[in-house]
Symmetry: C2
Subunit: 335 residues, 2 copies
């Protein structure tokens, strides 16, 4: 199996992707193609003394930054690392691709180059969020705004399959994010989607609320990408503020520093359970081949997790299962 990595994307590129690639080929039975400035990437790999053949290179002289208009950049920059990586994947020169760069550009490359699975109206980003009951999936976490009920139903099906196959969750529960738990609560979109999910094959548990995100009430949380993006970033922002405050509390004086030492083990394991890096990347579900988005600020450890997730994504035949199970709408709007 070969994983293609856009080695030029993300806050810590190319150092972190290269370091992760070196670790990953030693830990897992995979090959990796690093895409980007080949001389630079080779020099980075050499730093770790890696001499094996399981890391290969593909040249890409351009990069799409976080400030560019994604679809336009993907169309015009043929030599951008994410574009070259997506073309390699499309042409069968690898089994999955991973990028820590511009999310919109990865989405556009997934959609325009790798292509949608037949029947999937819109691919969605599925992010794993920490919760009191372990990692739970939020789908769509930001790929699509102004979704229609049929989009949300497909997101539910795709999320269900991924949780079953990759996360080995038995009969995952699926909830729809709403503004109240009672049936009948919601905006137009969620009210229309509710009966469709009820009639679908997923294990639908009805409306869930914002408070259920951290409680971990549902294994798969379905929502429009605008709402998903707001949830994801609210949780990230709150995590950031809380850990900053906790640090301030314990760095105050010699007594609090001593307190930190005494409670270190618990604090560390709590921080770990809230750490997105443990959960690998966010799969883009609905493309013809596996595409994974790593967090922009990923370090090597986070990228190794994402590579591991890409490997499981390939091995478990998620895509075939989506092809078979996605509800194809009859009026032909799917294609």
């Amino acid at each position: 199996m070969k994983i293609i990595i856009d080695a030029m994307g993300g806050d810590n590129a190319p150092q972190a992707p290269v370091h992760a690639a070196v670790l990953a080929v030693q830990e897992m039975d995979i090959e990796i193609t690093l895409v980007g400035d080949v001389e630079l990437l080779m020099a980075e790999v050499n730093k770790y003394g890696y001499k094996g053949r399981r890391i290969t290179y593909a040249r890409a002289d351009d990069v799409i930054s976080n400030h560019e208009e994604p679809a336009k950049a993907v169309r015009s920059k043929k030599n951008a690392s994410v574009v070259v990586a997506a073309n390699l994947l499309k042409n069968g020169d690898g089994d999955a691709m991973l990028s820590m760069g511009n999310t919109g550009a990865l989405l556009a490359a997934g959609l325009l180059i790798v292509g949608r699975i037949k029947g999937v109206i819109r691919p969605a980003i599925a992010t794993l969020l920490p919760s009191a009951k372990g990692p739970k999936m939020l789908i769509d976490a930001g790929a699509n705004t102004n979704c229609k009920p049929e989009n949300l139903v497909q997101f539910a099906t795709m999320g269900d399959i991924y949780m079953k196959k990759v996360l080995k969750t038995d009969n995952p529960t699926v909830g729809i994010i709403s503004n109240g738990e009672e049936e009948g609560k919601g905006d137009e979109l969620t009210k229309e989607t509710f009966p469709m999910l009820k009639a679908s094959n997923v294990n639908f548990i009805g409306n869930i609320e914002g408070r259920d995100v951290m409680e971990g009430t549902a294994d798969v949380m379905v929502c429009d990408g605008f709402v998903g993006n707001v949830i994801l970033k609210t949780v990230e922002g709150m995590g950031h503020v809380v850990s900053q405050k906790v640090r301030e509390i314990f760095e105050k004086n010699i007594f609090t520093k001593f307190a930190a030492v005494l409670a270190m083990k618990g604090i560390r394991s709590f921080k770990q359970s809230m750490d997105y890096r443990e959960y690998g990347g966010a799969p883009l579900l609905g493309t013809k081949k596996p595409v994974i988005k790593g967090h922009g600020s990923s370090d090597a450890k986070a990228i190794v997790s994402a590579i591991y997730q890409a490997k499981k994504f390939v091995e478990t035949d998620v895509i075939k299962s989506i092809e078979k199970n996605v509800t194809v709408m009859e009026d032909g709007i799917n294609d």
Copy 2:
């Protein structure tokens, strides 16, 4: 000044509202009318030995529970405490009303009985959320789903006025919750609203994201009520999970318990800064007279804060200012 309190609503009714009323008339120069089961309320007041004349009573033999359909219940239950309270307010038998009961019922009573300010299309709930930079306002926090751009523009104006007058925030910054900070990001609603806010009189700083909620980037955060409800409950849920985890960490063994003692002061002040009870209730903005929603789980301390906020709401003439400043749409859809 007289504040009308629905003393039968909320998880801790009637004990907490009565206790709060007794504390409030001693701390502030106000009168309070307690609405509900008069004998029960009098017996509760007697427990505190209060003999003054500044607490009066109004009879309401019915209650609207959290499980009833709000608008229907408000229309049919003429003797429900929230309905009686709203009628007292409407008839001038008080200057503001406060309820900790069913949010939807309070909204319906505000809309149907107290009535909208001329020109206001839809009143909105404005909640103060803790942030790294102090309390910030989220509007609409859940009163309206499927908003239109003109609604959001009015929410911005009303939130701006409340922050200036009641919270004494100088030239409050106003942001619109979106899925990216760049201009051009957003769903249809926020993209259409953006130029309207830019052209309005508020101090508009553009799109803000979920992470800005806790960072406190904007003084007033404008959004559709569906999104606002999801944000509010995500923050509440995360606060709940985090404080539970922190408790577990420190209760683990004798060392961690000692650590808790050493860091107690910092932990307590952090918890306090994250405590919604410090911020009083959530005003319903856009009704002809001040209506305040207290949190359902409010204790007496939280209700005293809400009473104090109701008092400032009245004193600062927020409603006159909304009447003057709200943008009246020309096609007559306002009335």
